[in-house]
Symmetry: C2
Subunit: 200 residues, 2 copies
């Protein structure tokens, strides 16, 4: 997918929102009206551009025949996180899971595939997908996605202070991880707000 221009992204987001809200896509005129275009053809041009860039599909002749390509809907699933870059970098995205907005009570920014068995006593198994909210407040007792020296890990946050953060695995075979944020690089990618398991 080529990158969209600011304007194109706006149009695209509007279409997406309309589909979600109304249950059907907008017409050219409706787009034009919302964006203040004096001609429906401005919308037509945008649709053509968006189609060309591969983010949506237009069924010729059909009214409201706009559909958003599946890959562009949905919440990204992060498999292995490559070192260095941001967690949501394109190369980390394993696939996408359709909207699912209302499935969980919190917003989900991405899903993270669980590696290892360090959380089994919290009912989190290997290969489960953890639903992560990036903005939810990081607090004691919640399950957090932390990045320590560029390595991503999922643990319960046992305690947090300026010079000592304790991350607790939920598996009696493992011991707590103690990090001094002033010495080691520590950041929080988000909080676990849900879990998805697929018995494939």
């Amino acid at each position: 997918m080529e990158n969209l221009t600011t304007r194109q992204q706006e149009i695209f987001d509007f279409i997406k929102k309309e589909i979600e809200f109304n249950g059907y896509p907008p017409t050219r005129s409706e787009i034009a009206k919302v964006f203040g275009f004096k001609s429906p053809n401005a919308a037509e041009d945008h649709l053509k551009a968006l189609k060309k860039k591969g983010v949506l599909n237009i069924i010729s002749g059909a009214s409201r025949g706009i559909s958003i390509n599946k890959e562009d809907i949905g919440i990204p699933v992060i498999g292995l996180v490559s070192a260095g870059g941001p967690i949501l970098a394109q190369e980390n995205i394993e696939k996408r899971i359709p909207s699912s907005q209302n499935i969980l009570s919190h917003g989900v920014d991405f899903y993270l595939r669980v590696k290892g068995d360090s959380m089994i006593e919290a009912g989190i198994l290997e290969n489960d997908l953890i639903a992560v909210n990036k903005k939810a407040q990081i607090k004691k007792g919640s399950i957090v996605i932390a990045r320590i020296n560029d390595e991503v890990t999922v643990k319960t946050l046992k305690s947090i202070s300026p010079e000592l953060v304790i991350l607790q695995p939920e598996n009696s075979n493992y011991s707590d991880i103690e990090v001094n944020p002033k010495v080691e690089e520590l950041s929080f990618e988000g909080t676990c707000v849900g879990l998805l398991r697929d018995f494939a």
Copy 2:
């Protein structure tokens, strides 16, 4: 919601399927064509009936202005199962979770809220939602939703033969349940194909 007639249910299901597949609702003519109506007005009549029964909404004047009422989309979540009736009876439906079709690799007929801790060693905790497929083959080793003498339970199917079915809890504090289908009433409501947990 009043009950739909067979025909109305067919039309409704078709509309739902179209929205999911195409991303936008069908026109009257498209409905008529699929069902073999010679007049688009037959579809119009059906839409009016469906609207009257409250399962969908029609935006007058808008092409493809059909939207399905949120309560009628989605997969039902079953909380407590009342004795006697079928598991999917209206009174058992706690809420509905939007489509999510492609979230799990198997089809999901309903979600069942887990009571108790008998499956914690399989990573299934109390209040988790188990995704259930009604038609998937019941086989040894899979987690099944069984009904024994009208009581619904989730267990691993350890062994199955005409006179002895062994259901195994995944919790060392509990012991296996042995059922003779010839003596006790035993039926399978489905197989567990996934799990959903919401950290509310």
